[in-house]
């Protein structure tokens, strides 16, 4: 055994990594110190929240690999899923959920609870009056969003959810879950523009007028409209 050669070679590799952090070889431009191959950003000042640079890392990333969250962000992929949200249409404020219970039926840990809204005469209408998601049980699997036939429940990408308390705040009610269709469109542009969802929306839009007319023929007990 040629003692030591392997060790020295190993050290050269680590040294090379170190050097490449500062001198990245593609061209003459200096790249960002933190991994990505974007140009180096010398004026790294205070930024307002939401305006942080997005660092894309790919096959060309060499050297230092750190993305300095929260001052820098990794790209949030469109399909990235954390907790479910319910969508209401931004144009008229009506929620899309028809309380068909499919999400609750497909939910593996059974963390969705739905009550269908009823008119004062007791007839069910196609709206939820209560909708709960227990996020201490939710496994972020996205099956509810995948199988919802009305595009009403979707997975949100927001992961900054830490808090100091769970008993009051970790059971999301209908009001907590609602987001506008604009929000959804902003965060899921590809899905929103996809063929499936466009046809689905037009189908649902036709039926929606019908459904709402039916629902509001006599004033229902609960009118779940977001404020």
């Amino acid at each position: 055994m040629t003692f030591g050669l392997g060790l020295i070679r190993g050290h050269l590799i680590t040294l090379r990594r170190f050097v490449r952090t500062f001198l990245v070889g593609h061209g003459r431009t200096w790249t960002r110190r933190g991994g990505g191959h974007q140009k180096v950003d010398l004026w790294f000042g205070a930024r307002t929240s939401g305006d942080e640079p997005i660092i894309a890392q790919d096959d060309r990333t060499e050297g230092l690999f750190t993305v300095e969250y929260p001052d820098e962000r990794l790209p949030v992929f469109e399909r990235s899923r954390v907790l479910p949200v319910l969508i209401y249409d931004a144009d008229d404020g009506h929620i899309r959920c028809t309380s068909c219970h499919i999400c609750a039926k497909v939910c593996p840990p059974q963390c969705i609870w739905i009550t269908q809204a009823r008119k004062s005469d007791g007839k069910p209408i196609a709206l939820p009056s209560e909708f709960y998601v227990d996020m201490d049980v939710c496994m972020n699997c996205g099956l509810c969003a995948e199988y919802c036939p009305f595009d009403a429940i979707k997975m949100d990408q927001n992961f900054e959810l830490s808090n100091y308390e769970r008993h009051q705040s970790h059971v999301f009610t209908l009001q907590d879950l609602l987001v506008s269709s604009e929000y959804y469109e902003r965060h899921h542009p590809d899905a929103y523009g996809s063929e499936d969802e466009v046809t689905e929306r037009s189908k649902v839009a036709k039926k929606k007028a019908q459904r709402l007319a039916k629902a509001s023929a006599t004033p229902s007990e609960v009118e779940p409209r977001p404020v």
């Binding site: 840990p109 739905i114 699997c141 769970r166 970790h170």
Partner: protein, 884 residues
């Protein structure tokens, strides 16, 4: 100024108010409170910038926690990189993952040992409130049942950034603390919580009197009376009418069972039914309808019907007629006591020598508990046969001869069957509970065992959709927690948190060694130990530093996959499989999808594009998993973190691809029966091709150059823990562990599934079966995976990605299936029994990590404690899969 100013006469100077203000601004004029506030500022800054977490991880979330500490997210920027192995030096406990009952006493002990001030972050849904496994019988519904939690980080699992967000939240909390009010400087800190006791269930000693009282009231039993219970189906009968039929063991059970059996027999005997199994008998809630039967085959690639009949004929010739009968493509051994001879025959005298016990499991039927053995031959792979042995269904009655002497790999699996079903194995050297602890009340996988949070035999639970009032599962239990104690339990006075029923009796006997003749002693290593790769424990008997005996103690992360899986619909199990071996969720999905597709037959044959996507994802998973495994093996060997950080970089890039395509870094939930869930997003294939073609080879080479010829590495790894080919086969190891011993057995080649037969790749085997070969096999396997990936990405066809219509209501024909995939850790198998309903009747996971552990003692004997750490690393276990 309402407060009268008290001025001492000698100080009574009237100060100009303007000057007074000036003075207050520029000269320190303050009171004690304000002064302390300034100290607070510095004090809190100092504390929040040097949070030292306790280096302990429980489950999937722990991996994200490690990623948070790795270079991409770099927790060091928050002053929290110093993960301490000892609680004495730590001041923040990140409870990362599912808190199980078996682990809870240890966690409480660790918390008690941490000095004040100490903080707790509950990371992930499980630690916060039970999570998806909440309904399981061995899961604590949130760590806040026992410890005070400062910050909750929701998510399943939370991304590393989410954990950083949680740490920032904790820092904010620390910023608000006041030194004058901090409890730890006062004498009145009440901090020690009593260590909960593992009795018939996990018992919180703070409420032991109340618990005893409620137990005596029989509230649990009263509640269970009102619930709909799971129905049992009769065991499958022989296809061909034989004279006697499958012999059942002598009925020694209580009368109730006799009645049931009589009823079952009476109905099954009705002549107009060709398949007695087709009509569920004695199943009140199940409507009698024609249930489609799946094709009877033990697994995708097997011996075949005619060869099986031939084999059965030869065995009957050898051991007397009707020794074995063919039941649904499996060999039913009529008399369990003949099992050892039959096994010996199959192993030694049959022309195809069935030397490899693939899997051993059990099913609780109405009339019997059936043990199912899958056997294969390593010399002529792909000839799987299935043995069935039946024993009495009644609890604690009957025994089956152990086959440990024939296939030593049966050791842990028999213990598991005993633990889960209560089946005794006569002749087993060490028949003890393996996942639960000694003294736990109940045999969890028996159909008549109901968990404390049991709601109904199958999902969907009515409470979710009929009356959508939210409740927490705690409300279901009279104890307000996940606890169930038999009414007749008497030993309240003896409960103590210091008793350690888990692993107490697992003391390795020890072998004789000649070098030292000092006193031998037993070290309990784990379950909280930085190098046990999770909550794993070894009872090691050492002579000096030399290991003379070793018993793995596991179950600290047993979160009841199989029990929950028998209540889930088939689709619901898919995201649960992600959480088995949480490094390889795509591979886990693959195996499970194959099992259900085997039952569904041709209607669920994935389209071409889906097959390619599956292979691409599975191979990316293999690289990511092997990267991690190599990195952490080096950590175990003492090359602290440089190789691991290098390897994690590549894994991170692969995880990005997963998140992009499937939505989650670790819990991909990407496969569906007959295809995959989503098509690739635009640009994915290009980026993946770049990473595969331009980067991975280079990085694998770099890792190779960095490690493979390093003298320290060679010194630590060569000739350590040698496992001969015979031993590796006998101990039922699989994956790189088996192949490193020179056995050419890779499921992708031995029993090809999906489209692996189209790719050109070599099965990497090692020459010596030592630690080094296991490492090197993994490295080379990554190269082979890259080869497959290059071809798959090049040839990726277009077209649909799912066979049939997308539906959440899967119709799965009745029958049995065992699917096998070559996961990075080894052979992952899913044994599924379907009764034609929406849920699996039996859902068993043959976990490679669990079975590879069988070989640990053999490997470690004679080596030192430091080698044990490396050898465990070379087995590459993941506790989510070991304990399930």
């Amino acid at each position: 100024m309402s407060k009268p100013t008290i001025t001492r006469p000698e100080w009574s100077t009237v100060i100009d108010p303007v000057l007074q203000k000036e003075l207050e601004q520029h000269v320190l004029v303050t009171d004690w409170e304000k002064l302390l506030e300034m100290v607070d500022l510095v004090y809190n800054w100092g504390r929040r910038s040097s949070l030292w977490p306790l280096g302990f991880g429980l489950a999937c979330c722990a991996i994200e926690m490690i990623c948070t500490a790795s270079s991409r997210f770099d927790i060091a920027r928050f002053g929290a990189e110093v993960f301490r192995g000892s609680p004495r030096q730590a001041d923040i406990m990140i409870v990362s993952g599912t808190v199980t009952k078996t682990m809870m006493p240890t966690i409480a002990r660790l918390y008690d040992q941490m000095p004040e001030p100490k903080y707790v972050i509950a990371m992930g849904a499980c630690a916060s409130g039970g999570g998806p496994f909440k309904e399981g019988y061995n899961v604590v519904s949130g760590i806040d049942k026992f410890l005070p939690v400062d910050v909750y980080v929701p998510g399943c699992p939370p991304k590393p950034q989410a954990l950083l967000h949680g740490i920032m939240a904790l820092q904010k909390k620390i910023d608000g603390e006041r030194i004058s009010r901090s409890s730890w400087y006062r004498g009145d800190v009440e901090r020690d919580i009593p260590i909960p006791a593992l009795g018939p269930d996990l018992i919180d000693l703070r409420f032991v009197e109340l618990t005893a009282e409620r137990t005596a009231q029989g509230l649990v039993e009263a509640r269970e009376e009102t619930l709909k219970k799971p129905t049992k189906i009769p065991a499958p009968k022989a296809d061909l009418p034989t004279e006697e039929g499958p012999a059942e063991p002598a009925s020694r059970g209580p009368s109730k069972i006799d009645q049931l059996r009589a009823r079952a027999a009476g109905q099954a005997a009705s002549p107009e039914e060709p398949h007695p199994e087709a009509a569920p008998v004695a199943a009140k809630p199940r409507p009698i309808r024609k249930i489609k039967l799946a094709e009877a085959r033990p697994t995708l690639v097997w011996l075949g019907n005619s060869a099986l009949e031939d084999l059965a004929g030869r065995m009957n010739g050898e051991f007397g007629p009707a020794t074995v009968t063919i039941v649904r493509a499996g060999l039913l051994i009529a008399d369990p006591s003949k099992l050892p001879e039959v096994s010996r025959f199959l192993r030694d005298r049959n022309p195809t020598r069935f030397d490899y016990l693939v899997s051993l499991t059990s099913v609780h039927y109405e009339d019997a508990i059936e043990l199912v053995y899958h056997l294969d031959s390593t010399a002529k792979p792909g000839q799987v046969i299935q043995l069935r042995v039946r024993t009495d269904e009644a609890e604690g009655v009957g025994a089956v001869p152990s086959v440990v002497a024939i296939w030593p790999g049966a050791d842990f699996q028999e213990r598991e069957v005993y633990d889960m079903m209560g089946v005794r194995f006569s002749g087993h050297p060490d028949l003890q509970r393996i996942l639960m602890w000694e003294g736990y009340a109940g045999w969890p996988l028996r159909k008549d065992f109901l968990e404390p949070y049991y709601e109904g035999p199958t999902k969907v639970f009515d409470s979710r959709v009929d009356d959508g009032r939210h409740f927490r599962s705690e409300e279901l239990s009279p104890f307000g927690s996940n606890m169930k104690i038999p009414r007749d339990f008497q030993g309240w006075a003896n409960l103590s948190g210091d008793a350690d029923p888990k692993g107490k009796h697992l003391t390795p006997a020890g072998v004789e060694i000649s070098e030292l003749a000092t006193d031998q002693f037993v070290i309990s290593m784990g379950p909280q130990h930085p190098s046990t790769h999770g909550v794993f424990r070894m009872n090691v008997r050492v002579d000096g530093e030399t290991v003379v005996g070793l018993k793995p103690v596991m179950g600290y992360m047993h979160r009841n996959h199989e029990k929950i899986g028998e209540r889930n619909t088939f689709l619901m199990n898919m995201p649960f499989t992600d959480r088995l071996d949480y490094f390889t969720s795509m591979g886990n999905n693959f195996g499970y999808a194959l099992a259900i597709e085997q039952l569904m037959g041709d209607e669920a044959r994935p389209p071409e594009r889906a097959e390619y996507l599956r292979v691409i994802m599975a191979e990316l998973t293999r690289i990511a998993s092997h990267m991690w495994s190599i990195g952490f093996l080096l950590n175990d060997l003492g090359a602290f973190f440089t190789p691991a950080l290098y390897a994690i970089e590549e894994r991170e890039l692969i995880l990005d691809l997963f998140e992009w395509a499937a939505g989650s870094r670790m819990m991909c939930n990407y496969f569906r029966f007959g295809g995959v869930a989503f098509d690739l997003p635009g640009g994915w294939a290009e980026k993946a091709s770049k990473i595969v073609n331009d980067r991975l080879d280079r990085k694998i080479d770099e890792l190779d150059r960095l490690l493979s010829k390093n003298e320290i590495m060679l010194d630590r790894c060569k000739d350590i823990g040698v496992l001969s080919a015979e031993q590796a086969i006998a101990l039922s190891t699989s994956g790189p562990v088996l192949r490193a011993s020179g056995v050419n057995y890779d499921i992708r080649r031995a029993a090809p599934y999906s489209i692996y037969d189209r790719f050109d790749f070599a099965v990497v085997t090692g020459p010596n079966g030592d630690l080094y070969d296991r490492y090197y096999c993994r490295l080379q396997e990554m190269r082979e995976s890259v080869k497959i990936l290059k071809a798959a990405l090049r040839d990726l066809p277009g077209g649909p990605i799912l066979a049939g219509k997308k539906t959440y209501q899967q119709k799965v024909p009745a029958g049995e299936a065992y699917s096998r995939v070559e996961n990075p850790k080894g052979e992952l198998g899913y044994y599924v029994v379907s009764d034609g309903s929406s849920t699996a009747y039996r859902y068993h996971i043959r976990s490679p990590s669990f079975l590879n552990l069988t070989a640990l003692e053999t490997m470690c004997l004679g080596h030192t404690i430091a080698d044990v750490v490396g050898l465990l690393g070379s087995l590459d276990i993941v506790l989510g899969e070991v304990d399930r």
